[in-house]
């Protein structure tokens, strides 16, 4: 193979790999990213059903209903709008009413969110930043207690 030919092989090879990687990234970014909303933002966006979402807010006091130990229903609120959540599984250790949580799930046509994961804040000094921001936006942020 000539020197030019060798160089061309290398360049074609590099371009092919870069091209495939870029195509994969664009493809995956279109379908596999999840948007984060508060219940109020969700109400404004009118997201279509069947879409994966991540919702952050507080667990509304008195809204947690457990059936059978594993099926849980509760309401996430940002003190402005509410959203009903249905979840099957174990709740995290720090899940409590009135506390900040982030849930991942799919919006059902009943308007409920079928969650497949529930994350609670980790300790009293630290809250998922998404939740803190959402609460600040709603003006119900209570500050970091020392």
């Amino acid at each position: 193979m000539t020197r030019k030919g060798k160089r061309m092989t290398l360049i074609v090879c590099a371009l092919a790999i870069i091209g495939v990687a870029v195509a994969l990234i664009l493809f995956a970014l279109r379908d596999n990213i999840v948007f984060f909303y508060t219940p109020s933002e969700l109400a404004k966006k009118q997201a279509s059903f069947g879409v994966r979402l991540r919702i952050g807010g507080l667990v509304k006091e008195g809204s947690v209903v457990k059936n059978d130990g594993r099926d849980v229903r509760f309401i996430i609120t940002d003190r402005n709008k509410d959203l009903e959540i249905a979840y099957t599984g174990l709740l995290p250790d720090l899940f409590r009413e009135g506390q900040g949580v982030v849930v991942d799930g799919v919006l059902e046509d009943s308007g409920k969110l079928r969650a497949d994961s529930v994350l609670a804040k980790h300790d009293e000094r630290y809250m998922p930043r998404d939740v803190a921001d959402a609460l600040k936006k709603q003006g119900v942020w209570q500050g970091e207690k020392k």
């Binding site: 990687a21 493809f27 991540r54 130990g69």
Partner: protein, 659 residues
């Protein structure tokens, strides 16, 4: 008093770092050997002062000196001693001090093992190392002082975050930092080579052991962190594609690419520009990781506190070093003579393909990690990019890489014979296909797991192809076989072992597809199926620990009614922080594990539990350890060993007089 001395030592270390930067640098420009000789003692002195400072902070933690803010916020008099010592780095200030300690340790290592490298290169490298040290010492002194006092001192501390109270804390951060910061050595040498303008095979030979050293430490650090997350979070997961985890994966991939390209540079004097670029990239990604984790842009258990001032400071350091190195690179790269263009089918051609694939993977991880941050700062939209993104993008890049690895190893330098290489690997192909068929019959779907497991076995077996090719020939006697085996350089074993380690990890990852997860409300004395096993709760009771109280369940693991193991998953409550945490119960059966975590108990006597059956899961970490062992074998190679090289001609004399 000791605390104040520690603070003072840190200030002196800063001054020494400035000396280490300025004097050898001027010495190298003025060609003054006396000034250049300042580099090594000042690096060792800087390390001693940072060590003293670090010891002083550890002392404050050990004696529970609650007049120090850092101790109040992260310690408790009842905390077990191991967490008093390792808890020093379980917070922002302490972990930055550990970062700088590791950095000055790396400077000390260069100083100790550089007797036979060109004087000017050594002086410049230590000078760059000193500048990095000065920047981070200034960062600690100005924004993150771990020695701040408070008056009046409280009686008790606030305790360490319970999630961090685990033996993993004693190993994972130092190991990871050794890897992260180890790349600073490679970076410093790259910068020094560009300043001095001499970039050749001698440089590659000097840098290769350091690149290996950092990569080994990073491999072990990441594996340790992953196993820790696996057993402590109670979710059974070992990798969450969390930006903080990605922060450690990015330099690891770039470092793996560097390990391979530096070989080409050493053997063939080619890929020079590219190797220098990767040397800069690996440490730049370490700095990026430090920025992501320590600046407060991300929230995670790793980001201890967010403070905008710190974020801006680290960002400034990041921009200065990455920008500086890349500008230097832009100035020098054009002037470098192009290396020989080589045949696509050859060892070096295969290594180029390896580098392309690794860099493509590294770029996807960088994009997946930074895209949400950029999007949020530009548009305010919040998104999360998680496992689905990385699986779709990385699997199609990583699997072909695994397929090509043994083939590349079988190709000769300069001109390889693809058909012969494939022919020699036919045994590995057969093993791979047979294994896939076996796993398909035993475990069944998903298809991706069957395919990946087959590929993994092909990789494990195929990795030994190179050794077999070198040792086995038709009609040889046992004696020639043994003498050839003994004559193999340990770096040949290193590559083989490391590649087969990757194969083992791949097999463990493939097997995650066959795991069983079951979330149940368990009644005591009733058996619940988990894969081929059953689990029964025999007893639930409370227990008191040193600084926590817990509820634990004694579960017996049974197979066909026969009890084979007992595990004790627990739920712990730490009163000092009012935090709860699960402690998973894990039993290893063969290569697989059974994993149980308990949750809330209910009035009807049931207790929530997550039960997992994970076949072959331990291979993920065993594979990583074997990769590291492969790296160590390469590092032990006489031809590479830094200390042993002294017995041969000094490297500098290979290229005439040092300039």
């Amino acid at each position: 008093m000791i605390v104040e001395l520690g603070h003072y030592a840190l200030v002196l270390a800063f001054a020494l770092a400035l000396i280490q930067f300025l004097i050898p640098f001027s010495g190298a420009r003025l060609n003054d050997p006396a000034l250049m000789r300042v580099a090594r003692p000042s690096a060792i002195a800087q390390f001693s002062f940072v060590s003293f400072s670090y010891a002083a902070l550890t002392y404050a933690h050990v004696v529970s000196d609650f007049s120090v803010v850092n101790v109040i916020e992260n310690s408790h008099s009842l905390k077990p001693m191991i967490y008093k010592i390792s808890g020093v780095w379980g917070n922002h200030e302490g972990s930055m001090l550990l970062w700088v300690l590791t950095l000055s340790f790396c400077g000390g290592l260069i100083a100790l093992f550089s007797s036979n490298i060109p004087k000017k290169l050594c002086a410049d490298a230590l000078s760059v190392q000193g500048l990095i040290g000065a920047a981070f010492l200034l960062f600690i002194l100005l924004t993150s002082n771990p020695f701040a006092r408070v008056y009046p001192a409280p009686w008790e501390g606030r305790d360490l975050n319970p999630i961090l109270q685990d033996p993993g804390l004693a190993i994972h951060p130092p190991m990871l930092y050794l890897g992260y910061v180890g790349y600073s050595i490679v970076f410093s040498f790259a910068a020094a080579a560009m300043i001095g303008g001499r970039i050749d095979a001698v440089w590659a030979r000097i840098v290769r052991p350091w690149a290996l050293f950092a990569w080994i430490a990073l491999t072990l650090g990441i594996a340790m962190g992953s196993y820790w997350a696996y057993y402590t979070l109670g979710w059974g997961g070992f990798w969450f594609w969390d930006p903080v985890e990605n922060a450690s994966l990015m330099p690891w991939i770039a470092g793996a690419a560097l390990l391979h390209s530096v070989v080409v540079m050493e053997k063939r004097e080619a890929l020079k520009v590219w190797t220098i670029f990767l040397s800069i990239l690996a440490f730049s990604l370490s700095l990026l990781g430090t920025f992501l984790v320590r600046s407060g842009v991300l929230t995670s258990v790793h980001a201890f506190a967010s403070d905008p001032e710190r974020g801006v400071f680290i960002l400034a350091i990041l921009i200065f070093f990455i920008g500086g190195a890349l500008s230097l690179f832009a100035m020098r790269a054009g002037a470098l003579p192009l290396g020989g263009v080589f045949a696509p089918i050859s060892r070096e051609g295969a290594l180029v393909v390896n580098n392309l694939l690794l860099c493509a993977s590294c770029a996807t991880v960088v994009i997946g990690t930074l895209y949400p941050l950029l999007l949020e700062s530009l548009t305010g939209e919040k998104i999360s990019v998680g496992a689905p993104f990385f699986n779709i993008v990385l699997i199609p890049i990583a699997l072909p890489l695994a397929f090509l690895m043994p083939i590349g190893q079988m190709l000769a330098w300069k001109r390889g014979d693809l058909a012969a290489a494939l022919m020699r690997l036919r045994f590995a192909f057969i093993i791979g296909v047979t294994a896939a068929a076996f796993f398909g019959v035993v475990y069944g779907a998903p298809l991706l797991s069957i395919f990946t497991a087959g590929l993994a076995l092909y990789l494990i077996v195929g990795s030994f192809g190179d050794i077999v090719r070198r040792v086995v020939s038709g009609g040889m006697t046992a004696r020639t076989f043994l003498s050839r085996l003994g004559g193999l350089p340990s770096s040949a074993w290193g590559a083989t072992i490391a590649h087969s380690g990757l194969g083992l990890s791949l097999l463990g990852l493939a097997a995650t597809g066959w795991g069983v997860e079951s979330i149940v409300a368990m009644l005591p004395s009733k058996a619940y199926d988990v894969g081929p096993y059953q689990m029964v709760i025999e007893e639930i009771s409370p227990r008191e620990g040193p600084n926590y109280s817990e509820i634990f369940a004694v579960m017996s693991v049974q197979r066909q009614g026969v009890s084979i193991a007992r595990i004790e998953p627990a739920k712990r409550f730490y009163p000092a922080r009012k935090m709860a945490r699960s402690e998973a119960g894990i039993v290893t059966l063969g290569l697989g594990q059974l994993y149980a975590a308990i949750g809330e108990s209910h009035p009807d006597g049931t207790i929530d539990a997550r039960l997992y059956y994970k076949p072959m899961v331990t291979l993920i970490w065993i594979g990583a350890v074997i990769m590291a062992i492969g790296g160590l074998l390469s590092l032990a190679d006489r031809r590479l060993r830094v200390g042993a090289a002294a017995r041969r001609a000094p490297l500098s004399s290979l290229q005439g007089q040092p300039r």
